[in-house]
Every structure is written in structure tokens, then in C-alpha cells.
């Protein structure tokens, strides 16, 4: 196996495109586990951390551009990012332990393409996009289009995610992410729910995006759930409609961590709670 740590995006692309069995290394918290367990036997590892911008959080177009090698811990320490997208930051912060947080990245969580990835529903709710570097230059893609199924992404040979971009955050707007796990820490989501919303002066929802994770082969954007609360104040009736839409949209499997009925129910419960948190944040309250 070869190890390469190029300093330019183009060099990383040509290394990846020119070698069968080349893998990208950012935080390595999934890659090293697969490598050690011999799930993968790479010919080459391309470490992207030395490429300019990969470890930076930078303002771009009113939003934030997050380099593919920025860790969860670094995101949590960035006041501007936390203020604009607390739900995305808290979702990334749920991945693994303090040690994992020191390395794990949004782009890696997305490319690992686990249906239960915590940061992915939050990014989908946020309307996040990724900038992909490849042999034909750069292209942008919505986060929701990246996972194609468990362990599969829409990336083509030689391509890798260079940046995640979170859009500008408007007034009276915020987001939240909640997951259910049987323990209090260090576990994989049985259900995850991300909500991003905006309120008007009368606390009526003017726009919302609702996403679910771990209840289907890939993350889902639940438009019926967003529709259920749009133009409404988040009272009991609106929250019940939101929960019902999420429970109806969830298509989970039965496994040892939860039954279909349980997961569908929990999808609704989490949506209701996440909406309340996002709305409080949108009003400038602590939640």
C-alpha cells in the first residue's frame, strides 16, 4: 500500500483517478477500522488533510464552507457556525467519543453512507450541498443525492468531496437534530431526525425542511412533514400532524435495535421534539 499526502486538489484527483483501489483519508475514523479489519485492502491511501482549505471553516456566499477534513470538535468550537447551524453541529457532535470527535468529519460521515449517519439528516434538513473535486473539475451536489444506499455514494472514480457548504441562515431561523439510542452516549442511531425552520413575527412557520435517518436505506427528506407545519404556529395540533407525517414516511426494518412499529413511532416523537427545539432557537431562546 502507498500513502500519499498531496498539497493540491488536482494532485489528489489524479492520484485517485490513476490508481485502482485508491481510498481517500480525511479523519480516518471509518477508513482505519475497515483497513484494520481487512474489509478493504487499498492499493493507495490519499490523505487530503494537507490540501489548502481542507481544514478550514470559511464564510462563503453568506453561509459556511467546511473543508472535508474539519473535525467535529473543530466545528463545535466555531462560534459563527454554531450560531447559524446548531443542529448540524450537534448532529456531528454525536458521532462517537471525544477521541473520535477529534478526527471525524462531515464529509467522511456522508461518504461512509451509513443509513444511520447522524450528521447526514441534519445536513439534509439544512439544505447543505457538497463540492466534489474530480477529473472533470469541480461539481456541486445536494447532500441528499450523495448516498445511494448503504455504503454506496454517487461519487465517480477519481472524485472526492472537498467541501460541505451550508447556506446563509435567515432571520428567525434555526435547526435541531435528535436521535434515539438505547444508551446515553457512544451508540448508533435507531432513528434520527433533523429539522430546519424559519418563523415569522407571529411565530408562524414560513419554511421548513424535515429529514429522517436510520428508517430507510438512505436518509429521507419528508416533504409532507414540512408541509404539515408550514404556515402554522407550532401548537399541539401542528406538532401532532408533523409527528404523524414522519411516522407515516418512515420505512424502517425490524432488527435487534428496534421494531418497525417502534421506529415509526419514535420518528414522530423525535420530529415533534426537534421542531420545538429548532423553534426556540429561531426565537433566540436557548435550547
Amino acid at each position: 500500500m502507498r500513502y500519499e499526502a498531496p498539497r493540491r486538489l488536482e494532485d489528489a484527483v489524479s492520484l485517485l483517478a490513476g490508481q485502482d483501489g485508491a481510498h481517500v483519508l480525511a479523519g480516518g475514523t471509518d477508513l482505519l477500522v475497515k483497513l484494520r479489519s481487512e474489509m478493504i485492502e487499498p492499493e493507495m491511501i490519499v490523505d487530503i488533510k494537507r490540501i489548502e482549505g481542507m481544514r478550514e471553516i470559511a464564510a462563503e456566499d453568506g453561509g459556511w464552507r467546511i473543508g472535508a477534513a474539519v473535525s467535529g470538535a473543530e466545528m463545535g468550537e466555531h462560534a459563527g457556525l454554531v450560531a447559524d447551524w446548531p443542529g448540524v453541529v450537534e448532529a456531528a457532535g454525536l458521532i462517537g467519543s471525544t477521541q473520535i470527535q477529534g478526527r471525524a468529519t462531515l464529509a467522511g460521515n456522508l461518504c461512509n453512507a451509513s443509513p444511520a449517519a447522524d450528521s447526514v439528516p441534519a445536513m439534509v434538513a439544512a439544505g447543505a450541498r457538497v463540492r466534489i473535486a474530480g477529473p472533470n473539475g469541480m461539481r456541486d451536489m445536494d447532500v441528499i443525492d450523495v448516498p445511494q444506499g448503504p455504503g454506496k455514494t454517487a461519487l465517480e472514480r477519481g472524485e472526492f468531496i472537498a467541501f460541505v457548504w451550508l447556506p446563509a441562515r435567515g432571520e428567525h431561523s434555526s435547526d435541531a437534530y435528535l436521535r434515539f439510542i438505547p444508551r446515553t452516549e457512544m451508540d448508533i442511531a435507531v432513528v434520527g431526525c433533523g429539522i430546519s425552520l424559519s418563523l415569522d413575527d407571529g411565530d408562524r412557520v414560513t419554511a421548513a425542511r424535515v429529514s429522517l435517518g436510520a428508517v430507510g436505506p438512505k436518509v429521507m427528506l419528508v416533504e409532507e412533514a414540512a408541509e404539515a407545519i408550514t404556515r402554522r404556529v407550532l401548537d399541539e395540533a401542528a406538532l401532532s400532524d408533523l409527528a404523524a407525517a414522519c411516522s407515516a414516511a418512515a420505512t424502517p426494518i425490524d432488527d435487534k435495535r428496534g421494531t418497525i412499529d417502534f421506529r415509526k413511532h419514535v420518528a414522530g416523537v423525535l420530529a415533534r421534539r426537534a421542531a420545538v427545539i429548532a423553534a426556540k432557537r429561531a426565537k433566540g431562546e436557548t435550547a
Binding site: L32, A73, Q99
Partner: protein, 159 residues
């Protein structure tokens, strides 16, 4: 295959080593540099026994390649004491018997030090969450948590 030549800093000392591309930082520390204080528990990032700080950031050395250490600043358990003077956390762990078999202890000490550098006055909940990635199968954690809390209080009084 030719080995990779890596120049790094370990516990403040400029260090050079040769490693294979697939060697983890943990492999390098233990097998090439003889720094066996850092332990391998699971090798998959679940147990925290291999915790080290890289550029001041707590990580699992089993989930990082040795080659990635180029130009970085690594802190291991061997750098925690100053000569014969134990770090207050080490001293407190002995006094309060916050260890039994000791395999998890270097990782827990390195992790706890990293917490106290950032937060000199953590709540018990903060200590428990911070150390959630450090598994101990002997103590039941209570003595560890109390030792960290007491050390933090001692260090605050001393500063």
C-alpha cells in the same frame, strides 16, 4: 516496499522514524519507538486505551496512520510526568485507587488531562461525557470520575 520517513515531535522532542504506509501511529509508538505506555485495547476506536493528543487534540492513535504524524506535535502518557514528579492526575489516581489492572489508565489520564486543559472546572456530567470513549472493565468508573474531579479542584486551588 520502501518505508516512509516521518519527522515529528513527540512529548516535545524532535523525532524521526521509518514506518510502513499501513502502520498506525499506535504501532509506531509501541513497536518502533518503544513508547509502550500507550495501550492497544480494541484497535477500532471504541475503547480509548490508545488515546494521545495530536496538536493538542485528543485522538485514538489506533485510528491514525503513523505517516500522518509528519510535522505534528504528539503528546503521549510518557510526557505527562515531569521527571520524577507525577502529574497531579497521576498522583490522585494512585491515592484514590482509581485503577485496577491499569490497561485503560494511560488513555484515561491523557484524556482527562485534555479535558482539564480546556475546562478546569468540569461538572461530573461533563467528566463522564468527556471520558465516555475510555472504557474500563475493572473499576466501575466511580473512582476514576471522583479522582478527576478532585484533581481539578486541587489544581484550581493551586493556580
Amino acid at each position: 516496499m520502501s518505508q516512509l520517513h516521518v519527522t515529528t515531535k513527540i512529548n516535545g522532542d524532535e523525532t524521526e522514524f521509518l514506518c510502513e504506509a499501513e502502520d498506525t501511529l499506535l504501532d509506531v509508538l509501541r513497536d518502533r519507538l518503544g513508547l509502550t505506555g500507550t495501550k492497544e485495547g480494541c484497535g477500532t476506536g471504541d475503547c480509548g486505551a490508545c488515546s494521545v493528543a495530536v496538536d493538542g487534540r485528543l485522538v485514538c492513535s489506533c485510528l491514525m496512520l503513523g505517516a500522518e504524524a509528519e510535522g505534528r506535535d504528539i503528546a503521549t502518557i510518557e510526557g505527562m510526568a515531569t521527571g520524577d514528579q507525577l502529574h497531579p492526575l497521576q498522583q490522585k489516581f494512585i491515592e484514590m485507587a482509581a485503577l485496577q489492572c491499569g490497561i485503560c489508565t494511560p488513555g484515561i489520564l491523557v484524556a482527562a488531562q485534555s479535558l482539564l486543559e480546556r475546562n478546569p472546572d468540569p461538572s461530573e456530567e461533563e467528566v463522564r461525557y468527556w471520558l465516555a470513549g475510555n472504557l474500563c472493565r475493572c473499576t466501575g468508573y466511580d473512582k476514576i470520575i471522583r479522582a478527576v474531579m478532585e484533581t481539578a479542584a486541587d489544581m484550581r486551588r493551586a493556580s
